[in-house]
Subunit: 333 residues, 2 copies
């Protein structure tokens, strides 16, 4: 029997499992021009938190009683559309269901297996990777010798943002939420320094690890971390605002203090959303795939097996328990 | 007898006249290679507030007991340096004194009277004008049809920022602190709409006057006005942060709420300080002088006569009592 995961309750503050319901649903039939898919991997993403609210975020809100939607890698089981054949690997925005049909295959992107593994099209070869590239390189413009600070640095985007900035000649410093993540950044990702933001004073840590100040801050979290980065920003610093996860579950909106540094240090603070940049994906994939094959670029995926574990996997990702990109594996490749 | 104005006390919160002392000082002598100057106009500027603090701002702090320094237009009374002759008009960063000497004329810029009146080299042909140009045009990049909102719009910078954006085809909306200033924006500066921020709810006013949202916000004030602009910002809006005068006299640092809009609307917030752009001044003056002569560009100066009135003139400017650029006239041209 097919199953799906729906939004059963809108969260207030932190998400918990009562916000989701796993329910049986009809086995989809492959009608004329349909493409029938078996889900392989579900992407868990911080921005999904915003879509669980009723109000508008930068993507439309999920409806109560209707499935969660995210990027999904799937295998074509059957196709009655000329563009797809059984066995093809694809990705697209799909309902969280084990199997589904997509009329005319609309919105599906074919995966080129020569570039990388299927799961990587949700991670290093997909939107998290392109997000890191746009923020760290296009917006951040790191120069050789710059100090680059990345928060949530052991996350799907952060680990790559730091590595891309390092390739551009910058000295990269990361923060993350556990000693294990800090080890990952130092041992695997080649960060020059890293610290556990849960066990240190962030101002002291930035003073220690960024003694010449911050030229680029890749902001995944907002809040008190953004305030600290503003205090340590150099003249002409760039802040690429990729996420403000600290605000997503915050119902108080305390405000960002010290924004005067934007003026005194001539800072450029640029928010970006990867939807505006998806046309750059093929060029990005072509650039990065060789670095993946050669091992120059490290990328960690945290794959949780079992469709029914998707709500817990998403919640845990939001609480910071994953290293790298967290995916839910629905079926074997 | 010569006189000067010194910083007698550092302000906490708002500046008052007890922060200044007018005192007699020696009549300067024109030694070898010196240039002896008679001050004509003193510039009063919001950034001077920051220099009255002990801590670092983007310019070094004034010393207690030492003269206030700002841009000053002066006439050369005597010169023992080859670059200057008696009768020349110059501007530079000078002590607030009726007369002074400048060794080797260092830091003095000669004024070309064919471009405009002497006072205008502290206003429309000087840093306030260039500030408006850099923020409204270079950073703001207004497109035809864009909605541009300018706060402190009747100030030295704001009135020009709005007019420059209008010349680029934008629809310009301004806010200012009195009905008289609003009239000035509508009747003299050609703003499409303007409102008195002291007598309306700013969100309602922005809703009314910027019904299609804000594409460029030229921010002179920060604080609650910046928060409101963030709430009304369109996707891809630019915010040129020129001043945060609301914070200069604020000892609480309440924080800016709603900065998440930077992410959801992909806003670019860019702080700038005109010191970084002074090399553009000659090209700017050459561009703008014809518009001044033809009357296409309106510029209002508020000239307070009398050296001894400089402290009150500065304080009043900070409290918003002037329209346009406030100058203190020390001597007739």
């Amino acid at each position: 029997m097919n199953q799906r995961i729906v939004l059963s309750r809108r969260p207030v503050g932190w998400v918990d499992e009562s916000c989701f319901r796993i329910e049986p649903c009809a086995e989809p039939e492959c009608g004329a021009e349909d493409v029938l898919l078996q889900a392989l991997y579900l992407s868990t993403d911080p921005y999904l938190r915003g879509r669980m609210n009723a109000g508008p975020s930068y993507a439309p809100g999920f409806e109560l009683g209707r499935p969660i939607v995210s990027r999904v890698v799937a295998r074509v089981i059957a196709s009655r559309h000329a563009r797809f054949r059984a066995g093809d690997l694809v990705w697209g925005f799909l309902d969280w269901a084990e199997r589904c049909v997509v009329p005319r295959g609309e919105g599906l992107h074919r995966i080129d297996p020569s570039l990388g593994r299927a799961s990587q099209f949700l991670s290093v070869l997909g939107m998290p990777g392109l997000t890191a590239w746009v923020g760290a390189i296009e917006i951040g413009r790191p120069a050789p010798g710059d100090t680059v600070y990345v928060s949530s640095a052991a996350g799907a985007v952060g680990q790559l943002a730091g590595q891309f900035a390092k390739r551009a000649g910058a000295r990269v410093v990361g923060s993350a939420g556990s000693a294990h993540k800090v080890d990952f950044l130092l041992q695997r990702c080649g960060f020059a320094a890293a610290f556990d933001h849960r066990s240190v004073d962030i101002d002291e840590a930035l003073q220690t690890h960024c003694p010449r100040g911050i030229d680029l801050y890749f902001d995944n979290v907002g809040g008190r971390t953004l305030e600290a980065a503003l205090r340590h920003a150099n003249v002409a610093a760039r802040i690429a605002v990729c996420g403000m996860i600290s605000a997503y579950n915050d119902t108080t909106d305390a405000g960002i203090r010290g924004l005067q540094a934007v003026l005194t240090q001539r800072i450029q603070l640029t928010g970006f959303i990867i939807y505006d940049h998806v046309h750059k994906l093929p060029a990005y994939q072509a650039r990065v795939a060789p670095w993946l094959r050669s091992g120059e670029l490290v990328f960690h995926e945290d794959i949780v097996p079992g469709f029914e574990n998707a709500p817990a996997a998403l919640i845990g990702m939001m609480k910071g328990e994953a290293i790298g990109k967290r995916l839910v594996q629905v079926a074997p490749e």
